[in-house]
Symmetry: D2
Subunit: 227 residues, 4 copies
């Protein structure tokens, strides 16, 4: 079973031009170098067609951005757990806000991933959904407080309850799940705020993957986690 040390930074490469193909490999190398320099775990989630290439190139945990439930054999165009393992992945995001999954499929995917040793991060959009997700025993839940999505408000500026309230609710049903802050993170200051409020890491995308200078952003994030 994949173990990820916390606090952790997960970088979602999305489908950014700056994080596709050879440029995904370059960005992964930058992440690897900052991870080693700061001794902070960084997990990267490139596009599915880049997974093998990136996993071959770096010594970091590589996660898929999505995984379909289901057994091998019947599907065309689906992304199954076995294929992710073969590609060198050690985990996957599930139910990202840009790739929502059916309730039953989230559970099926968590169970299948666990069987194959893949680490699961379920993205959730509010406290109630976060609790529901946590009861299905994924390795991690990445909470995207609606107050922080597309509002330009960062975690460090927001009301503390936005994070701490959800953390408490999740802990009522699951003591072990790793809780990540999945929105409102751009700077080291945001990371510090998220950690103080009870999260054990962060999931972010554009601040790193669209940056002209991702190394600088990553160092700022990593140094906040090292403190």
């Amino acid at each position: 079973m994949t173990k990820i040390k916390t606090p952790v930074v997960i970088i979602n490469f999305k489908t950014y031009q700056q994080a596709t193909g050879e440029r995904a490999v370059e960005l992964a190398r930058t992440c690897e170098s900052v991870s080693k320099e700061f001794g902070v775990p960084i997990v990267i989630a490139p596009q599915i067609s880049d997974l093998y290439r990136v996993a071959q190139a770096v010594d970091l945990p590589v996660f898929s951005q999505h995984m379909d439930p289901g057994e091998q054999g019947r599907f065309t165009g689906h992304v199954l757990a076995e294929a992710l393992v073969e590609a060198g992945c050690s985990g996957t995001l599930l139910n990202h806000s840009e790739k929502r999954m059916q309730l039953a499929d989230v559970e099926l995917a968590i169970t299948k991933a666990r069987k194959l040793g893949l680490y699961t991060v379920v993205c959730t959009n509010n406290p109630a959904v976060s609790v529901a997700a946590a009861t299905m025993n994924p390795d991690s839940v990445a909470v995207e407080p609606p107050e922080l999505i597309g509002t330009g408000i960062s975690v460090s500026q927001a009301q503390p309850e936005v994070i701490s309230g959800t953390v408490q609710l999740i802990r009522n049903v699951n003591q072990d799940v790793v809780i990540l802050c999945g929105a409102g993170i751009s700077t080291g200051e945001d990371v510090s705020a998220a950690m103080k409020l009870g999260s054990q890491g962060v999931l972010l995308a554009s601040a790193v993957a669209k940056s002209d200078k991702p190394a600088i952003v990553l160092k700022s994030l990593a140094s906040s986690l090292r403190k």
Copy 2:
């Protein structure tokens, strides 16, 4: 723009265990070797996470099993044309019966693929849908006659009209699109029958990708095309 010589054999690897990861590479090498020996174009469609690995390993056109429409940047877990190009793909299946697409998305994907030089094969389930697909100017339409899906009836045993009728209807609206027979193909005899009825190639999966001896099956298919 990718050109595929006809008659062509396209092998859909689906998510078969025998065609995943390193075994996808092995199967691709078998396809390559038969393609060269018989001088017959073979196109392979491995799983998305295997595309780069397979494209690096063999000198055959590598197609994706699916492609999402949409522009780079906003999506998580999606499979965009730009990423396929970076992975070494030269084309994609669209609208496979196990991955049906919305009408508007089929058109968007064809148009986007054309812009990036990717070859498109739209899978269709009956004459009316085949004609509709053909009007959107994909490079190819792979017809899966309902009479041949899951019935155990092969093309060589079926009523000729099942194929020839659809071919005629498609030609009424599109003189150039490559017409493939996408169901009922297991043997060289089936390939011969499909070609006689007006198709310019075949799309098949299990007969090759689940076979213990794919080289033997492939040689049988290829020798029928060479005649």
Copy 3:
């Protein structure tokens, strides 16, 4: 807020020919008559286009088979809570196995329904999903144990743990949610078994809605609940 007395029988009319249009009204009247004769609450879930007609005709709680989340105004072809209220509905099934919903949408729909006083029954396919659903505070969870779906095994024949185990897990996270048995119910004997194992009612479809003599089946079910 709609209150439904338990034990309750919910009849899903699905899209059965025998339960469409005027025949839906007739079936609803049969349900009403048995409900009154036996003093047992029966809830009926006709097709969406029949909701108004049935709600006008009978004095029983009428539920929708599905509800989309979302606010009034932007949608075409969607089934919103406000429209259900206007049609005379007092509740809705959610996430039926033939109409699975995204995790986030299940939560949104529950919250929206609660605001408008609609009773919610979330259908779930296994213990883990049942618990997740129960944490989102629907009024009811209808458990469809996989051991009883499409196997021909009824609740009264199955291992008791299939139901009682799930009931216990749900109670750990939610003391109030009404737990229904949503599969394996055809006879009064099945209803009795389901009640003994801790469920507070049953959700069934074909045994009533496809029956030539629904009154007889309903009386058998109702008499088991009255005991």
Copy 4:
């Protein structure tokens, strides 16, 4: 088979609060009264749960906003052709931009509707998709030129080619299909422009269904058609 005289005005009630439940009936009556006064065919498309109620109240063709393909029996929450007929509908919109359908399902739904005598209007988003839709022989195609969607530009202000070009392309493959203009219509002037450019009617929503004075808007539209 339902026949709709052209030129025709189709009003999509969407899920507007002003067009739900009893208010849907009122709006339908307004449409009926204008239709009779001006001798212009008006078709109304209320929400699915309002179909029966509205069809009972007025003597106008009532269309559904959506229809699922499929045969009676297996589905929960689906909207099948048979149920629409029972509810008093005489047609349906298909593939609306807010309810996109899979290519294969559009064809299945058209074929099923034809069998049951329901009139079909397939909504399309650009010339290529309009042509593809037209080859599947629906009764009507409602073209929503991207230049007119959400841009605030009305048909009467737009480049004429936006409509006339698509009309020509559709006529190349289908002489009989009724072509509607499905975007950019708010006023009688827009209707006149759409008709001059070759459309045989209009499909619109908010300009009528959200209006405080729908009768005035409808009279403006109808008087343009009568000229």
